[in-house]
């Protein structure tokens, strides 16, 4: 049995190295060459650190870097804290599955759509201000920095609305591997209050399981371009937008500092991860001391309660953002200070109908193919681990999540050069390939824990009944894991549907999807059309979740424990 395991693992590893790691490395090398002044096509033949000097001398560079670090850390820290607190107060009342169902709408909503909707809800001329206007007596919208504020508060809020549901999902999955009830009973017996048990006993056990997803959240918060443009400050903008503007400057020589900036962004992520690592060590030592001190009188219950109220408030705002977009997609005139559109119309939907066909088709095709490839790779990888009888090494973990931990702009430009040389840029295959880079890690995040949590006695029973490894996989593991596999597919679909830069770069702009349409149109800032596309994006991802919940319920309608309807 061992040899087959090694064989399978080598095949999967080779596929991963060739298909995911080498393109990223090639992309990084291209970017790196440009960052050090080596780009013959614009007449640059290597001038060492000159490019970096000119990057650092650009007005607003340092402010932009500071702003990005602040926003990245604040958004990640707040999301993590609030999600942990929410879990602590709500865990008893919800199972993993019901929560997943409940979180689905916010997980399915694309980042851009949430950002545009949120901008409308929060803006001085937005929904909340319109609600207050008659009470406060505002005739004109107040001149307040409620979005695009210099501190990036609106951007932090937007990131939290998207990241808290994701963290909750992975936390609930992690909690399913920890005997929470027993710990709770034991600690309660020792005289600790419920809320303190969460902080002292449960959270430290959950942390190692969610460390990587937290890093992913941190990386996203540091590198988001779309949300930064819509919600962040503009003068200077966050660093990712700063770099994007350099890439888009009419002066082609700016590609050099832009490449240096892209590497700088990757470096910032490295610094951020290192900081997280150091913070983890510090908390481990001080926390140990605090736990050993054993104080039983303390309670954090009020704090937990405030935090979970904040989460609920954020979810309500997120829901409002999405609802506002649906309203906009059905509006014709909707001026200040009306709470609802003055005139309604189906025109935005009718106008979109023409272009919709091909964009929708492409979106479905790309999502289907990239999710299929990612799932196949993930199942093979996990099966390889099973057969080898060994867990995942640290380097394996990093390898899988690398695409999510690096800023997309650091390697996409170079990756496109590679695809051009291979002659596949501009085709749908290239887009699917590029999307797998980002879909696969998410599929792995969602699938790994349930896969490992599968009761090994079932496999042993199957083996003793004479089933070989392949039969075990096909007739026992996959059917038993159908529900998590479908949820992974749903999340993969949502990730694929939302990809903007990979689709744009690798498709040479020719492959239009709902997201590329939505983003180009949102540069024209018509909320009605944005509303149409954002609704469609959300509907598509949402449909994937719906399938993920309904299929197991149907397939296992005669198997009470497998229905996916909650235990």
């Amino acid at each position: 049995m061992k040899p087959t395991g090694t064989g399978l693992r080598s095949v999967v590893l080779a596929a991963l190295l060739l298909g995911i790691i080498s393109p990223i490395a090639a992309g990084l090398i291209q970017t790196g060459r440009a960052a050090f002044g080596l780009m013959p096509v614009v007449g640059a033949h290597g001038s060492g650190l000159e490019v970096w000097r000119s990057l650092c001398a650009l007005p607003g560079f340092w402010t932009s870097v500071r702003l990005t670090l602040w926003i990245g850390f604040a958004a990640t820290f707040l999301s993590l804290t609030l999600a942990t607190c929410f879990c602590a107060t709500a865990h008893a009342r919800m199972t993993g599955r019901s929560a997943a169902r409940w979180l689905a709408p916010l997980l399915a909503a694309p980042h851009t759509a949430v950002a545009i909707g949120l901008a409308f809800v929060l803006a001085p001329s937005g929904w909340i201000a319109r609600l207050l206007a008659p009470l406060v007596g505002w005739v004109r919208p107040p001149d307040l920095a409620l979005i695009n504020d210099p501190w990036g508060i609106a951007l932090i809020l937007g990131l939290m609305i998207k990241e808290i549901p994701f963290l909750l999902l992975v936390m609930l999955a992690a909690l399913s591997q920890i005997p929470v009830q027993q710990h709770m009973a034991a600690a309660r017996g020792l005289g600790y209050r419920r809320s303190v048990v969460w902080v002292k006993i449960i959270a430290p056990q959950v942390w190692p399981l969610i460390r990587l997803p937290v890093l992913v959240v941190l990386a996203y918060s540091l590198s988001t371009v779309e949300m930064g443009i819509i919600l962040g400050p503009s003068n200077p903008p966050v660093f990712s937008v700063f770099v994007m503007r350099l890439f888009m400057a009419p002066d082609l020589a700016m590609i050099l500092p832009a490449s240096a900036g892209a590497l700088m962004l990757a470096f910032l992520m490295g610094v951020a991860s290192a900081t997280l690592f150091v913070a983890e060590r510090l908390v481990r030592y001080t926390g140990l001391w605090w736990i050993r001190a054993g104080g039983r009188s303390s309670t954090v219950k009020p704090l937990l309660r405030i935090a979970s109220r904040c989460v609920v408030a954020l979810f309500v705002i997120g829901a409002l953002a999405m609802v506002s977009l649906v309203f906009w997609s059905l509006a014709w005139r909707w001026p200040w200070p009306s709470m609802l559109p003055e005139t309604w119309s189906f025109q935005p939907w009718r106008n979109a109908a023409g272009v919709l066909g091909s964009a929708l088709g492409n979106t479905l095709l790309i999502a289907g193919a990239s999710v299929f490839v990612s799932l196949a790779l993930a199942i093979l990888w996990l099966e390889g681990e099973d057969r080898k009888g060994r867990g995942r090494a640290g380097w394996g973990e990093v390898l899988i999540y690398l695409p999510l931990l690096l800023p997309q702009i650091a390697f996409l430009y170079g990756l496109n050069m590679l695809f051009l040389r291979l002659g596949i840029s501009g085709g749908i295959g290239a887009v699917i390939w590029a999307q797998v880079l980002f879909v696969f890690p998410y599929v792995m995040i969602v699938l790994s824990d349930p896969w490992r949590a599968l009761d090994p006695r079932l496999i042993r029973a199957a083996a003793s009944l004479g089933a070989g490894p392949l039969r075990q996989l096909l007739t026992v593991k996959i059917p038993l894991l159908l529900s998590p596999i479908l949820i992974a597919a749903a999340i993969g679909t949502a990730v694929s549907v939302a990809q903007y830069l990979p689709t744009l770069f690798m498709g040479a702009g020719r492959i239009s999807t709902l997201t590329t349409e939505a983003v180009t149109l949102s540069s024209g800032a018509d909320r009605r059309i944005t509303g149409v596309y954002a609704s469609l994006q959300a509907i598509l991802s949402f449909a994937a979740y719906a399938v993920a919940f309904m299929v197991p319920a149907f397939v296992f309608r005669n198997r009470a424990a497998l229905k996916g309807a909650g235990q």
Partner: protein, 401 residues
């Protein structure tokens, strides 16, 4: 198949007397033959649904008439396409490139021309170029003071205008000095797009032309001395204006569409555009109130021409020329200028048109938000492209902290 080709040929011959010129007719005929069956990927900014719809209409027409399929590659910024062509050149892809046609002008054109990324000259070979004023000083011949030299073909006019809601402002300020006075009395009610966006940069250029004493120097490439001298009044004015801007001039809308939305939302009272018809179109589309109007500072505003160019490695360069030529047909231009379609002003010279084409233009309907050509005042020349770069750099140096 054959019938449509024949009718297409008949249509061309009838509408283009220049085809009787045997040399041109032969080569253009070759172009048409080669173009048949090609797919042209037109890389054009995709943020404006009306323009997208117009491009789709152009595609239907060229497909029916010439068998040339047209696909719009929607960009969020023209530089995307420039970078794409550059990547292809860097990767050694010197033919079968992914970009066939680019909506372009100004700095992006200068860059592509300087880097040898363009195909051409091709404009003189287009039969419909006969309707253009191509004299050396015409805006069709110089793009931001850079000679076009037949490397890009005009298709629509752009001219700087302000717009405002006449229900909120009685008399708009008609000069940059008056704008400062107005903004001082109405703090927080005016702003401009971030100068990293071309509209924001154009606003600065417009202010520079309005405030500087010697405009002739702007037509030369910028030098350190000329820049300091020419921009001194501009910065003095801007230092006074900035604190009166929306959000105290701390942040700026991303582009003119976002600013138009601010006008519609009532957050500001004055916005700006590079298309005189955009206000009327926005009213018709429900994006601005019925009372929105256009105004132009006394003394005129910067105007330029939007062009299409063909990259050096375009896979369908013949098809791209057919599209560029179709864009210049009088009927196409009249359709484009129709306020219900796009409203963009035609680039054709009225004097060169035949009587029936002139009549078509004359019957185009007007709309309350649509300024007449007389309202728009004189068109001022764009400064040399180096001024724009220098101006936005200096702005960033002064006001980005």
């Amino acid at each position: 198949m054959r019938i449509s080709l024949m009718s297409a040929l008949a249509a061309i011959v009838l509408s283009n007397p220049i085809l009787f010129n045997p040399v041109l007719a032969d080569s253009w005929q070759d172009t048409l033959e080669a173009a048949k069956g090609q797919t042209v990927y037109w890389n054009a900014w995709g943020g404006d649904p009306q323009t997208n719809a117009f491009i789709a209409w152009v595609g239907q027409q060229t497909f029916e008439r010439y068998g040339v399929a047209l696909r719009q590659v929607k960009l969020t910024d023209t530089a995307e396409a420039v970078t794409r062509v550059l990547s292809e050149k860097a990767a050694g892809q010197d033919d079968e490139g992914s970009v066939d046609l680019i909506w372009i002008n100004g700095p992006n054109f200068l860059t592509m021309k300087e880097q040898g990324l363009l195909f051409g000259p091709f404009v003189d070979g287009l039969p419909n170029a006969q309707y253009l004023d191509l004299s050396p000083a015409s805006p069709n011949s110089v793009d931001f003071t850079v000679p076009v030299a037949g490397m890009e073909s005009p298709w629509r006019l752009a001219k700087f205008v302000f717009n405002y809601d006449s229900a909120r402002i009685d008399t708009p300020p008609l000069s940059m000095t008056a704008l400062l006075e107005w903004a001082t009395i109405n703090p927080g009610r005016f702003t401009h797009p971030a100068p990293s966006n071309f509209m924001g940069a154009t606003f600065l250029k417009q202010a520079l032309i309005d405030l500087t004493l010697d405009t002739a120097v702007l037509q030369e490439p910028v030098t350190e001395d000329s820049f300091v001298a020419a921009t001194r009044p501009l910065w003095k004015w801007y230092d006074a204006l900035r604190p009166t801007l929306w959000r105290g001039g701390e942040t700026f809308p991303e582009n003119q569409s976002v600013q138009q939305q601010l006008l519609n939302d009532g957050e500001i009272d004055i916005a700006m555009s590079f298309d005189p018809a955009s206000t009327a179109v926005a009213i018709a589309q429900g994006l601005l109130p019925e009372t929105a109007r256009v105004f132009v500072p006394e003394g005129g505003t910067i105007g330029n021409v939007s062009f299409v160019a063909i990259p050096y490695n375009a896979a369908s360069r013949e098809g791209a020329q057919v599209v560029a030529n179709f864009l210049l047909a009088p009927d196409t231009q009249a359709h484009m200028q129709n306020i219900e379609v796009l409203g963009a002003f035609s680039v054709l010279a009225a004097a060169k048109l035949k009587a029936d084409a002139r009549a078509t233009f004359a019957t185009l309907q007007t709309a309350p938000g649509l300024p007449s050509l007389a309202d728009l005042g004189p068109t001022l020349l764009e400064p040399h492209a180096s001024w724009m770069t220098r101006l936005t750099q200096e702005w960033a140096r002064r006001y980005t902290r």
